[in-house]
Amino acid sequence: MSSIPGIVAINTFREAVRDRVLYNLIFFALLMIAAAVLVGGISIGIERDVIVNLGLTAISLFGIIMAIFIGVGLVYKEIEKRTLYSLLAKPVRRWQFLVGKFGGLLLTLMVNTALMTLGVAAALLYVAHKFESSDLTILIAIYFVLLELALITALALFFSCFTSPMLATLYTLGIYVAGVFAPDIRDIGLITTNPAIKTVAQCIYYVLPNFHNFNIIAAAAHKVVVPHALIWQNTLYAVLYSALLLLAASTVFSGRDLK
């Protein structure tokens, strides 16, 4: 990683680690241990389902919290503390800095998710005593969580380029929640007879990032096979949407005065 975005990414990752961001893993580990012990005692026949549901939901929730709360401060903090001044006076383009910050947080989230995945696997082994081939769906679900986190990070970074962390948190969280309910917004457009509402609902549906498709936790818990097309679609969607957000962020940030 000798490119400038790579150098910035590694530094961002180091910052997260030294800021004890990965301490959330302790809570996650405690949650998994408690779940494994309790589920074994009270859930007969559905131990695996409960562990997968709980584990994946926790992975997703912990990741979303990290992506939003760290993401919104990625650029803002560097401007406020003026740490960015020395860097941008060097041969570093602003988009390289942004891509590096994005990559660094994504790397942090990937490491965090990978470690939490090990925790889920251990809890699963404790209650089910073995792995099955259908458990592969769990890994696909985790991959989708990572795609979702990439999109949320790009959103948070975009807002971080021009507004305060508090507002950026509100915007990112608001768009995330709306994006989770994207199909419902589309349905409003389908059932309404008002052409104005129909148009608005359709516009919102197509413009908002659709987070609904990334959630296959229930399918993973019930060993439902995930179609390959969905994997490609979600990958392409997350990559393109994140790239667009980064492009927009770069455009906004490249013309911004750093006061």
Binding site: S2, R18, A89, P91
Partner: protein, 323 residues
């Protein structure tokens, strides 16, 4: 004739202010300036004069409303130009989770130095700014003065041709100031161009080939400190000791200030000899006679006062373009 190290032409910066951001406040007003290769150039001005704005414009951290600037003949919008410059921001603050060594390594990587080169440079510049003993301490534990030194180290790490320092002496104790002065002189001896803003006029007087004074976003004057301070003799200062039992002439006893037996008086240059005669006749012991010249501080204060009163008359030294 070599390309000037820094060329600034009509650089202007307006900021939108107010709730609706419709009002504009001018922070820098048509600054035109040239700095020659190898010069140590002091950029003086009171708080809010536009010094930091100028430096930020040159670094590409903010964008000009109008005007342009070139460094080493290349536009400030040219990212490649940044390889040839070093910059220390005012009151530098760095990633506090990094050690000084890690921070310099981070910046050295940006310039593409390999591991061996990085190690050599980091050691050399940590030694140079006197931070070798603290190289593995996290920056969060550094004092303001130590951060200032790290700031200088990261600005010169890649051996730039032009070095910009924003208030490099602020926050430093006398030893730190002396060390920074030595670094600036060393850079100057290496043929680097140094452009630094400062409030500390004695440092500017000591270090700079030329200085400029900026007040209210407008350039008030540019010139060599010696030109500014030796424009004319404003009078003569006589230090003397009175003889016990012999009274001083009346004009001396009223005009002179004294500490113990020692007196100090300022007289017009034309009256010097008659004043000395009178002192001789009253058996006073002359300790010293020195011409009174305006200091850089006097010049600076005069410029600030003139700008405040909006008097348009230019100062007799070169104003505006200077090379």
């Amino acid at each position: 004739m070599s390309t000037p190290a820094i060329e600034i032409e009509g650089l202007t910066k307006d900021y939108a202010v107010g709730f609706w951001r419709k009002k504009m406040r001018r922070s820098l007003d048509h600054l035109t300036l040239q700095v020659n290769q190898g010069e140590a150039f002091g950029f003086l001005g009171p708080n809010g004069a536009g010094k930091t704005t100028t430096l930020k414009l040159l670094m590409g951290l903010i964008f000009p409303t109008s005007g342009e600037a070139r460094i080493q003949g290349r536009s400030i919008a040219d990212i490649g130009m940044h390889r040839q410059i070093g910059y220390m921001p005012e009151q530098p603050y760095f990633y506090d989770y990094l050690t000084a060594r890690e921070l310099l390594d981070y910046f050295a990587r940006v310039f593409g130095f390999n591991r061996a080169e990085r190690e050599v440079r980091i050691k050399k510049f940590l030694d140079r700014v006197g931070l070798s003993a603290s190289s593995d301490v996290q920056l969060r534990k550094f004092s303001k003065g130590m951060l200032q030194r790290v700031g200088i180290a990261q600005a010169i790490l890649h051996d730039p041709q032009v070095v910009f320092l924003d208030e490099p002496m602020s926050g430093l104790d006398p030893i730190g100031r002396r060390e920074v002065r030595d670094i600036i002189l060393e850079l100057k001896n290496q043929g680097k161009t140094i452009f630094f803003s400062t409030h500390i006029l004695s440092d500017a007087e000591m270090l700079c080939d030329r200085v400029s004074v900026l007040v209210g976003g407008k350039l008030q004057g540019v010139g060599a400190p010696r030109d500014i301070v030796s424009l004319d003799v404003q009078g003569m200062e006589i230090l003397f000791e009175a003889h016990s039992g012999v009274p001083l002439p009346p004009e001396f006893s009223t005009k002179a200030t004294h500490t113990g037996d020692r007196y100090r008086i300022e007289v017009p240059e034309a009256d010097l000899y008659s004043a000395l005669e009178k002192l001789k006749s009253s058996q006073a012991r002359i300790l010293s006679v020195a011409p009174l010249r305006p200091s850089l501080e006097d010049y600076f204060m005069k410029m600030v006062a003139r700008q405040k009163s909006s008097a348009p008359a230019p100062e007799p030294i070169a104003t505006g373009v200077a090379s």
